[in-house]
Subunit: 325 residues, 2 copies
Amino acid sequence: MRQAGRYLAEYRKIRAEVGSFLDLCYSPEHATEVTLQPIRRFGFDAAILFSDILVVPHGLGQEVRFVEGEGPKLSPIRNAAEMSGLSLTGMQSTSGPLEPVYEAVGRIREALPAETALIGFAGAPWTVAAYMVEGGTSRDFHAIKSWALTDPDGFGQLIDMLVAATVEHLSRQVSAGADAVQIFDSHAGVLPDGAFEKWIIEPTARIVAGLRGTHPDVPIIGFPRGAGLRYADYVAKTGITAVGLDSVVPVTWARDALQSKLPVQGNLDPVYLLAGGTKMLDAADRILDALGDGPMIFNLGHGVIKETPPEHVTALVEHVRARTA
Amino acid sequence: MRQAGRYLAEYRKIRAEVGSFLDLCYSPEHATEVTLQPIRRFGFDAAILFSDILVVPHGLGQEVRFVEGEGPKLSPIRNAAEMSGLSLTGMQSTSGPLEPVYEAVGRIREALPAETALIGFAGAPWTVAAYMVEGGTSRDFHAIKSWALTDPDGFGQLIDMLVAATVEHLSRQVSAGADAVQIFDSHAGVLPDGAFEKWIIEPTARIVAGLRGTHPDVPIIGFPRGAGLRYADYVAKTGITAVGLDSVVPVTWARDALQSKLPVQGNLDPVYLLAGGTKMLDAADRILDALGDGPMIFNLGHGVIKETPPEHVTALVEHVRARTA
């Protein structure tokens, strides 16, 4: 999960200096600084690149803006003909629009302590496509579901392009110094049977295979948020190295059905981190009790809520460190 | 699922005459008319009362408004002290604010053909509380989750009041002529382990037990949308008669884990109904193939999308009738 953000005063300061959110993503100097901030403050075992999943559609040529308080706005693409403005060329060149992101990865890797892993990331094709087709965040995903379910060939062209762009984007991050990558499928939970296989599992499996072509040993963490029962299929069929658990997957089921096959991370509801105190520590203990005997990375099930007091994070890290020492 | 709505011209006409959405819910004459419209047009086996889950907080004394294009707005209640304006008295009187709803139930039952069942409904306490605490729709449910997770005793007072109000509301609907009732828990999917048991399963079980006290034989359909793996626990522990499936539950799992214990309904993604044609009929066939040999009610996994052409509904009804004749 994103570690930097508005809950940190030092982030808000940099953000105010830089201006827009995308400018921050594309400034190697400032993206490096905000990536390092939570490592300095909390001493996490791993850092995650400060960036956004929407740099990929931006790199493909779609207009992307972030409107303060409203989230991202994109000029929506709703059929194959409307893809005419998109191109892989920029992303596949070594002087393309996303070069500042890879430069940030190199700088961060140099600045981090050797024992601190750096995680790169990308959005999964379905989730990135959801923003590209809906034109921003969505409550019901009618536009993308309609296109995917009624015109799978046309929609498949968009997914194919995103698979290629994502392999490129992750590969460049690993080449620049990322020790592992994560694939965020935040909207994996909205698809019915069959469509989940076709638009979540298959594209992710193709990305994993593609990335392994250039970087055979890089750990790849998949995060199909909201997948529910389909977590098991996703783990069995995508080829990922480890899986991120959202906050609603029952941990005992995750232990038996998933952790028996690969390392797991996540699950703590960020509302507990917002709350702090014994409720937070008890919730962390329930996760450690269930998953602590197998391969696991302690993590949240979703991003840090912006009102979270940073000292709650400090207390949580101390607690988890003490239990797993 | 709601059968009437903006996808029907005859509904839009009545709605324009009546004015506000809540006025429509509280007009026995007009609520009766819009409940009957889809039965006349499509000849469904069952009608569902036209009403809204937010009549319960309204009946308890909270301010509820519907803003066109924005959804419901409530004056939020975020701790036990702010519950001081709420009272069960009105809902427990026989001249309370929800009498027009029960009058509508009686009129509809009289007007319906004898072979057409009438389904009454209420929101489950967690889902209704989500609107009461967040003050409307929400993307992340931070306010209600924070309250529920950090002050379970205080939040429990709100849930206790909603359990009592819901038993009353459903009991009155059955007394007025409803043949079955459904409990909609649209936001059941956002709670982590433990909290799901406490705020979804337990309150629903108490409502089922309470309603059975006055109406021992009334069928009660539970709909814990987004419950994922927890559907099995919900079915095992709430005492419901039948369960509604959302659009993402795998049907083969539902057959083995749920339908082996009780009748199921739902699952068709309303996007298929929007799309129409062979994609829609194929999707219906997949549900009928998996669940058609056991006890089932063919239904959607969520409400009809307002852009849906009514002739798609006609075609779907004909197809399902032909297959199950």
